[in-house]
Structure formats: C-alpha cells, structure tokens
Symmetry: C2
Subunit: 266 residues, 2 copies
Amino acid sequence: MKEINKDTSIVFIGAGNLATNLAKALHAKGFKIEQIYSRTEESASVLASFVGARWTTDLNSVAGGKDLYIVSLKDDAFLELLARIVEGREDALFVHTAGSVSMDVWKGKVNRYGVFYPLQTFSKQREVVFDQIPIFIEAADKQDKELLKGIASLLTQKVYTATSDQRKSLHLAAVFACNFANHMYVLAAELLEKNNLQFDVLLPLIDETAHKVHSLSPKEAQTGPAVRYDEQVIYKHLVMLEDEPAMRDLYRIVSQSIHIQSNSKK
Amino acid sequence: MKEINKDTSIVFIGAGNLATNLAKALHAKGFKIEQIYSRTEESASVLASFVGARWTTDLNSVAGGKDLYIVSLKDDAFLELLARIVEGREDALFVHTAGSVSMDVWKGKVNRYGVFYPLQTFSKQREVVFDQIPIFIEAADKQDKELLKGIASLLTQKVYTATSDQRKSLHLAAVFACNFANHMYVLAAELLEKNNLQFDVLLPLIDETAHKVHSLSPKEAQTGPAVRYDEQVIYKHLVMLEDEPAMRDLYRIVSQSIHIQSNSKK
C-alpha cells in the first residue's frame, strides 16, 4: 500500500454508528470496502449493502491480505477481540477509531498500526458530510502516518496528528460538548412534552447557542439566571422541578457550576 | 395606539442583553424608540445611541404618554421597581419580557398589560436575526394581544400566544437547552485549554449536535459512552477528572441521567 488510490482495499471490523458513516464516506470517495465484520448480522449486512462489500459475523472469516483494517468497536469488545482480529494478518495496517484507546494497544500485536479518529457524533440514521470534520491521526510509523493523513485528506479539510493523550482529552471534551449538551436537550424536550409544548420551538435557541461559540468564548456567550445569579428565577425553577428530584439536583449542580465558572477568570 | 405604524412610540425600561437586541430589531423595522432607562449610565447611553433614543438613569425622568413600555429587567429589580415604573402612566400598554414572571404581576397596577417574550439567548456583543425567533405573546385585553402580535409579526415569522404557565415551562426548558448546554461547552473548553488544544476543533461537533435534533429526537440523537453504557470509557474519564472533583461529580450525574433516560421509553 504505497500510494492512496481506489484500489486500496479496506476491511471494517465493526458496523456501528461511526463505522457506518466512515465506510459510506470512504466508499463515496471511491475506496474499495472489501468486507464488513459485525457481531450482529443486521448491522453487518445493512452496511455491506450500502458500500457494496461482503460481510461476516465470524471473525475467522475476515479476509486476509487487505491493505487497511479499520477497527471500530465498543472499547471492551475491541480489547476482548484484539488478538483474534490481528491473527494471521500481522503485516496489514491496522487502525482503531476510538477516542479513549491508546495507540499502544496494538504494540507487539501487529507491525503497522495507528489511529484514525474523526471527532464527530455519528448516528446510523443520519449521514454526515465529512468535509469539515476534524480527523486526528496517529501512527507508529512515519510512512503509515502519511498514508493515513492522505486518506483523511480525501474526506476532510481538517486533518491533524494527535498523541494518544491529546486524543483522550479531545474525547472527554467531546463527551461534555456533545453527549452532555444533547442530554440537556433531552431534559428540555421532556419538560416541554409534559406541558404539551412542541420541542421545535427550542430549535432557533439551540442553533444560536451553538453558533454563538463560533464568535464568543463559551464563557462570554453564557446567559440566563445562573450566570447573572438571579436567585428569584433559580428558586422558582427549583420549585417547578419538585416532582423531578433527579432533574432538580442536576439543575442545582449545573447552576452552581455556572456561577463558580462565571466568577473565575474569563 | 390603534394600529401599528412607525409612529408607535416605545420606551425601554432596561438595557440588558434582551432589551439591547429587541430595541435594535424594532428600531431597524422603523419603530420609534423614544427613551431608554437603565440603572447604569453606560448601558442606557450605549443602547440609546444605537437606536437614536434619549436615555435616563432616573425612573422619575421616564417620559409619560408614550404608546408602549417594554420592561426588560432582572426579575428582582422588576418587582422592586414595578410601582414606580407604572406611576402616572396607568393608561399606556405595559409589557415585560421575562420568561418566569406571570402576566398577573401587572394586575391592579395598570389597565393595559401583557408579555412579549422572545425565546432566544441574547448577548450585547452579538446581534441576532429575529426572523426565526419564536415570540410568545400574552395580554389581558384582546385588542392589545392583537396589537402585540402585530408588532411581533414584523420581527419574526414565529408568533405564538402562551399562558404564563406555558411561558414558565418554556423558560425552564430553555435554561436546560441553552444555558446548561452552553455550560457543557464551557467545561469542554476548559479541558482542552488545560491540554493546550484549541476549542475550535469542537465546533463541527457542536454544530452537528445542534443540527441533529432538527431531524432526530434528542433521545434518538444521543451517542457516546453513557448511552451505550461503555463502562471502560466512563471509568477512564472519571480517572482523568480526578483533579477536578466538581467536574467529576457532574460527569457522573449526567452520565447516570443519560443512562436512565435511554432505558426509558423513546
């Protein structure tokens, strides 16, 4: 695999949200997706049909001799299956896509290895455009690093290298900025539903909240009762949440955290 | 004030984030902003200069005989100043812009009153386009309600009526969807800064997280370690946050809340 071309043959180990979006994006750029492995037949077959690949639910049937194996599994499954994934394929290039797993997990198991980490939230039901998604590359070997950067560059304008420690920080930050932020939408939706109000009315607010931090720092962008320490409003909200003790605790803790942050340096 | 026209004379009581954006938007549509009152000279004078109005820091100097008084103050200041705001102006139309204050606060104080509540996050440093912002109207009198809806309709396509209770629910939901979501960005930014990483790399993720809930429900849109209950990752993250007990507690509580929600009905 000296150069990046349409004959680069790729095998996906895993067919979850990330694998689905990444395989589709690579396929759309002309890469040959040879095979999809997943523990569940439906995931494997659905993704395989999208990208014109073969599929299997049996690790022993994963094709050997391909150029690139992209492993995209839940962390515990990955570590459990690692030895069997590389078996008999020790000379191929292996990458995983996990934010929280060190590159060194491959060390001593295969000769050529790295990490291919797109920083994005992926769902199977929603195809994303890769163009602006940052992809963070790590590789043991310099040539492999260039090769992975080359592949990433075909997908996005934003290709970076990152150490395993940097990637772990990025992943943790992403959990806050994405998963936790989205959970705040979930709770908001629940509150509205209970009062027969449509979630849609929040969309311009959610959009503006996201847009704001393109031009202001998140601290500068903050508004609302907690940052201006409007005790009247905070008290009223806690009363409104009386029947929802978990949500009330969360309201109190997050408001407190906002208040502390707003008093620290900008 | 029988019809809405450019001669409708408006006085703003308050010159904060919301008042600033609303006054500018009304001014841009041709309304005559007569005067700005604020307790602080800088806020009053800066906004007044933007919209070609007079300004004062003395409630006794607020002009009488104008058509519409828009009161946009912190809740406690509003309640404290209410009697003085209306004094001698009992026949004008008064509205407040607070999500959490009942319309009835005006009852017995003035004859014509209501609420004009734009559901958005406003900062002085950032001018927003009102076009898609939902504005929720409430008024004691039917004619005044139509009049306020008419004014709102000149600013946005999304004009609704809402009772005080509905508005309170909207406001609480907005605190979660906006202020709390933004606070998750704040914490993410802090984590990245500590590791010398740029906040900018999170922007495509933040944008996609917001866009996703236009087509998926927030519950369907959720991804990450908490929703798939990836204990390995959650444990690693808690270890990474060992030096940040407040953030670690928040991580644990929000992850738990995500996990509970994901097991409840969609």
